[in-house]
Symmetry: C6
Subunit: 247 residues, 6 copies
């Protein structure tokens, strides 16, 4: 099945994803699978890009939780932005019990917030080791922006991205890479992540008369005839869902 | 209660905040608690960002005053922009008697305006020492922008922010970090504070036909199903309040 | 009265300013005092920012003249942009006789246009010496932009601003700092003066169908519940006045 | 016939292109030939520029496939962005069987994703060698943006482009060069590719009320009285087609 | 009368300018004097800023010609952009015979187009020498932009402007300094000329439905209650005139 | 006749240009002469600026062809962007037979595409030599943008432009300098060519509802009372023409 290769798309069906020419993994985000012909192509690296507070973290948490509980795919959450306890408690509000998953050996939270430049190789080795130890097939990096900050500018962010790709090739996982769009800015991240990734979903924040509206759109998904329309983002105590867009 | 860890969100209720899964601290800003499911998550670092004169200083002063007088939480105001006397007199106009609090050992004002680059370590040590001496649980930094100015560009602002986080971890306090948006600019601070902070409230200045209107919006607050709409900012001799937005 | 400290706001009234909690100095600009609860807080550093020709110079001249003739507060005009004779003659058109004031020892004009980088320390010492010699309590710097130009970029403009603050602390004067907004630009000065100053008044130039309209707005004034609306700027042979805004 | 020279436009007709003064190659993209007086001038270097997910990859794959199956022109796909298996599988969805072509010696996929700066000369030699080995007359570079990334900034992207031109001169092929326009940006690539290329087709992404619309326009094609209007981009399981534009 | 000092504004009237408190020189541009209370303040440095082809050169030529023929004020035209013959012939079209003036010793054209960086001191000495030799009281620099180009960036343009000011102080002349606004740009020159100059007149190019409209506006003129409205620029074989603005 | 001097405008008429005070050369572009009082001033350097594909190359080719066949003025086409064969073939489509002109010694094509930095002096010498060898009086540089690219940034583009001017002075020719405006950009070239050139014609590309419209406008032409309105650009098999503008 060629799982040793990243982006290895095997031409057969898997249990959790139905019969498709391209092997897909369901996303765990209500309303998204139907926009993607069933889910992300297995082994893809997909960017979730948006301004702070747009729902990226919740979405990626649901992606991991769903994988572990429904698709028998373990997951690793790599964080450069917050500590495990905060993440666990925040997600508990949505009924996602990550401590339970962790006890069952189906989930790992890697706290990278204190990593320095000197530690990048070591960081990645730790990542690979941890991911392999639970045979993770789903990965979240939160966020590429915070990660690039953690290291000094001398180490090109491209080098880091490159190292990540190698790592993913070794593990064969489907990865969500979170990218921040700062307030007052419309450019995405560092400007190059977009064309090396397999997919890109924008979590947009639209200023309306009385407040902020959140909507999502799939800008790119290789190997997929994806939906071209906006979806409303709804965040409730069930987590995040995508609903048909009403203007 | 894990106060040794920053962002330690303990899963129980406290006197001043009611029964919630996430431990919250009431803000002291009239109209804001209701938009935040009761208050800031305890231990959060929240950015208050806005143009000069938008009300950030008054809001952060009320946050500290309320904490000291109503929630038995002492506070420290760290200023890189003005001297204590000016602050005290300005806040006295709103009925906030900080001299009294200071006498009671419930408040400290740290005048950092004269700090130079050479003194950053020393500055932070002073900060920690002072905060611990009154067991402060609320902190205001006014402002991250003025602070970054005080030090030479050689010391990366990120290093400073990082040092602050460590300090907050030691004290376990809830912190408001003020960030300036200069006139004619829509980008916020240095572009990265947003994604390392736990929350972000924008104090916007809108140009209308006859003058300036001030409004606030919560862009991000981790662990909180926050309100998405604008609020009118009203500044009276009672201080600053948020009212429902009327266009 | 604590005049040794800059920004020392003493809590009592003075002859020229009525009974207020915050000690204020009347501005000498017709229509402005009423927008500022009576005047500038004594000891403030206030930015007057605007494009060339927007009326900043006339306004600051009236501030000094009024101080010397009505409030018994001597003043110093520090110019990096023009020579004394030009200033004197231009202001004479508005009935402001600065030569007379100078003879009475109530006014000094410091011509800094020829100052070079090597002379900054000396410049500031001269300034302090001159200001103290007539016990000046009002100061105008015209302009921070021209001043930053006079010195090589190597000497950070922040260093200059810092030196000025120290100087003002020594003299305890209320200061107007003029800042230029170049044509085609909306950003103000160097981007940082705004948040270290106590107040900011914008002198805006609005392009309308048949020509240019000038209007002013108070963006920030610490310790003051300032007016939020635009005012029309009217320049006549009486000088500059602010009138209620008509669109 | 001067095939040794790049951009050698011979003045006679070829089988696959009809009778024209300028020798043209049909594009393989439904609807495009008619907008180009029959096809691309043989030997041209044409930029396909657009945001991620706009259809550039599918279009360039069809260009190669059509050349190999209908015009007896072999082709090489040079990729700096993805691996062969992914490409092959993605294109199989549209009925383009590249494995078959490869077996018949009519197609080669060059995986350059792992090329480093040190290897540029070697890379280009490999390219030339491979292209000549199957006598390729059609070439796709995916993408110039990813390629420029792969090499350190010290090696000017212009040097790379220059090296490519030399290579194309040796092989005499018609080349599509893919250029990425990052999200939130309207500038194309590095700003200079446009005027050294012979042609430029923009694959635009237009934000409409309910979602994204894709349209194409020919901005430049030397030696061709090209169509000036937009075309709708339609992507179906037949691949990509251009249809008359309806707003 | 203090003509040795630049910007020496003597308080008396002169033949050519009527009775005014501020000594003024008539401009020679039809329609402009009335907008300036009679003319430019004697000794001013006035910027004429506009895009290429907006009429600045013709206006400045008329200023010199009028000075020499009507006000007995000789003039020097310093050009960094074109040669004397071209200038002379172009102006002859408008009936301005500069060769005649030159013969009478009332006009000098200084061709600086070939000046290099090494020659700046020498250039300025030549300028001063030539200006004094005919006792010039009117000066045109065409253009500050071309001049800054002629010298390497190492010599700060500010240094050049400074040197010019010294030179003008020595000659006591009224000077027009031409500044170019490049196409697609709204910022004026290098951003600082505006606030060191005494006056600023914008020659604007407005894009309308069928073509280009030219209009002028006085943005700043020290010591003058100048007109605030736009004027239409009309260029005929009489030269350039300002007419009341019709939209 | 002063042909040794660049921009030497002799005050007499020439055969090809009618009776004018300024010596003019007809342009060869249908519809343009009438907008320019008969043609370009002899010896001018005129910028043709526009986005790729806007018609600059065809226009400049017609300028040379017309000069050689109708005005007995030989011409040189200096190209940094394409090879002679491509140029020749492309122009043949419009009925312009440059091979014929070349045989008659009335036209030269200089292929500079392979010139490197080391070769700039040599390049210019070649240019001058070739131009003088056929006594060329018309010159086209295609393009200044591509030329600046060919040389390393260390050699200032200004130095190159300066060298060109010297060369033109030696030959006394009328020159068209092509400048590229990249997609998504409104600034023209490097920002300084405009004010050293004698004329500027913009070839604009306007995005309309259904496609692209091309229009031209004369922004500047020294010594000419040029038309101020837009013209439609029409490209047919007769080449490029300017027609009255219809919106």
């Amino acid at each position: 099945m060629g799982k040793l290769a990243r982006r290895n798309i095997t031409v057969h069906s898997e249990d959790c994803s139905g019969m498709m020419l391209i092997d897909r993994v369901t996303t765990g985000i209500n309303g998204l699978d139907g926009l993607l012909e069933g889910g992300f192509p297995r082994g893809s690296m997909v960017l979730l890009a948006g301004s702070p507070g747009s729902g990226k973290t919740i979405a990626s948490a649901q992606f991991l939780y769903h994988g572990a509980t429904k698709c028998d795919e373990n997951g690793v959450y790599v964080s450069f932005a917050e500590q495990k306890e905060v993440f666990v408690n925040n997600m508990a509000r949505f009924g996602l019990d990550f401590l339970e998953l962790e006890k069952k050996g189906k989930f790992k939270f890697l706290d990278m917030a204190t990593t320095t430049e000197a530690g990048i190789s070591e960081t990645l080795n730790v990542l690979i080791r941890e991911a392999l130890s639970i045979k993770a097939q789903r990965l979240v990096i939160d966020s590429f922006s915070a990660m690039a900050l953690a290291f000094d500018k001398k180490i090109d962010a491209r080098v880091i991205l490159h190292a990540f790709e190698k790592m993913m090739r070794q593990t064969g996982s489907t990865t969500l890479l979170l990218v921040e769009i700062p307030t007052g800015n419309s450019e995405l991240g560092l400007g190059f992540e977009e064309f090396v990734a397999d997919g890109l979903i924008l979590f947009e924040t639209i200023e309306e008369k009385i407040g902020i509206k959140k909507r999502a759109i799939i800008r790119k998904m290789r190997g997929t005839n994806h939906n071209q329309n906006y979806s409303n983002i709804v965040i409730s105590d069930q987590g995040i869902s995508l609903m048909p867009y009403v203007t």
